[in-house]
């Protein structure tokens, strides 16, 4: 290591709060630079030596992480103004001071840790799975064409990271909008040959009550922000068509709406 890199420091500003109820505040950190660092390793450095930029002892910054390869979504936070995963946020590619904030669309637990339960509740609400449980063996399901599988794979990349909800102007404290992630999963599981058996039910779920599909305002921030480049707005527009047809079936059709 050269003397230059030895003295190089990383400047960080982290928006912190002690618990869900307390007021947020900013704390500055100066962390010794090493090559190939990401935001996670910088945060680990703070955990190893919890001293802020002023040289005062402080509590280590709390954050969430798991896979460290951008497939779990746990380490999402706002980095220099944009929500993204901190594991793939490389220090060398970030402008300093690096500003870290929690994704405040979600309840903040402590520092950068947020509670993303609403995303998992949404998946349960729309039945984002293929129900095959029963009392007897149903045998193999229908085959899926390869081209369709490849298309569906793109939608299946969603890791419920919450970035799209953070970016959406209609997901906020004044609405109950379910957000783009779970909606796209409705499209994915409705496209599955076995999952399609529950298609009408899933569509009905996102048409019923408050905060469903209709609350999308087409700002399209979600598709711009998604780290997995999932065609979220295409999913939403496709569901708009499906629900248009479903509502016509419900109103003008017979009692057989499935």
């Amino acid at each position: 290591m050269t003397t230059e890199t030895q003295n190089k420091m990383i400047e960080m500003i982290i928006v912190r709060q002690a618990d869900p109820e307390s007021e947020p505040f900013e704390e500055k950190f100066s962390i010794p630079y090493r090559s190939n660092m990401n935001v996670i390793s910088a945060l680990m450095e703070i955990r190893r030596n919890p001293v802020n930029a002023a040289g005062e002892d402080t509590t280590p910054v709390a954050w969430d992480a798991s896979c460290l390869e951008e497939v779990c979504g746990a380490c999402s936070m706002i980095i220099n103004g944009k929500p993204r995963q901190s594991c793939t946020a490389l220090i060398d590619k970030l402008e300093q001071p690096i500003r870290l904030e929690p994704m405040n669309t979600f309840p903040i637990m402590r520092d950068l840790t947020v509670d993303r339960s609403r995303m998992f509740d949404s998946l349960k609400r729309v039945k984002a799975w293929v129900p095959i449980d029963g009392t007897y063996d149903l045998g193999p399901g229908p085959r899926m064409p390869e081209a369709k599988r490849q298309w569906a794979y793109e939608l299946s990349k969603c890791m419920s990271c919450g970035v799209c909800l953070q970016a959406c102007p209609n997901v906020n404290d004044k609405t109950e909008f379910i957000g783009p992630a779970a909606l796209s999963q409705v499209r994915l599981f409705n496209a599955h040959p076995t999952g399609a058996m529950h298609k009408a039910e899933r569509l009905q779920t996102i048409m019923d009550g408050d905060g469903g599909l209709a609350q999308c305002g087409n700002s399209q921030n979600c598709v711009e922000s998604c780290p997995k480049e999932i065609p979220l707005t295409t999913s939403i527009a496709a569901l708009n068509r499906e629900t248009t047809l479903q509502s016509f079936k419900n109103f003008f059709g017979s009692d057989n709406t499935v």
Binding site: P169, G209, Q215, N218, S219, T243
Partner: protein, 204 residues
């Protein structure tokens, strides 16, 4: 059925913006264009419109009730958003924000416009070339009209784009991109028609 009101209201809101309000806007701007053919042609056109059979029923069901429903629910939608164009300055996010801003502007503009023309007419004033000439002889009123017309045509043209998405007509990014250009063309054409007509009353 009572549980899926939001879906129904949102779809109704989207539909009303195009049919009948959007259609009415086009008819209104077309009639205004008669001003470019002189006061006589304009007065003839307004007299014809006023003399249409079932006038009050048509006014109520094609104009007033749809606009009130669209406006009230639109305000509710507009104030539900937490705009974030400063952080996410994407084109569509700006359109999202401008749609809400122009919606509020248009409501203020229409209220004033209806008060000065239709309400005045109900109290005995005659809606003709002279009336408009008097209104826009005030430069402030003229500027208000130009802003009001532009906000209205923007809100309609951009609303036409989101109508396509809301009803599932334009699904793919490509179709949405093309409909963006169509909506731009609609905006430019209607704004030209609207402003050209109002400038005639101002003698410009």
């Amino acid at each position: 059925m009572s549980s899926n009101r939001e879906f129904l209201y949102r779809r109704l809101h989207s539909l009303l913006g195009v049919i009948p309000i959007g259609v009415f806007l086009i008819v209104h701007l077309t009639v205004n264009w008669f001003a470019t053919r002189g006061p006589e042609a304009y007065n003839q056109a307004t007299t014809f419109m006023e003399g249409l059979p079932f006038r009050y029923v048509m006014e109520a069901f094609i104009i007033f009730i749809p606009i009130i429903l669209h406006a009230v629910y639109g305000l509710y939608i507009a104030f539900q958003a937490r705009n974030n164009t400063s952080k996410y300055g994407y084109f569509r996010n700006w359109m999202f924000r401008l749609q809400r801003v122009t919606g509020v502007l248009v409501l203020i503009f229409i209220t004033w416009h209806v008060w000065e023309t239709r309400v005045a007419a109900a109290f005995g004033a005659e809606v003709n070339f002279q009336m408009m000439e008097d209104i826009v002889s005030n430069p402030v009123a003229l500027i208000a009209y130009i802003i009001g017309i532009t906000a209205t045509t923007f809100h309609f043209a951009n609303g036409l784009w989101s109508f396509g998405v809301t009803w599932g007509i334009t699904i793919t990014p490509k179709s949405q991109r093309i409909s963006s250009f169509v909506s731009l063309a609609v905006f430019l054409a209607l704004t030209f028609i609207g402003i050209r007509s109002i400038l005639v009353f101002a003698g410009i």
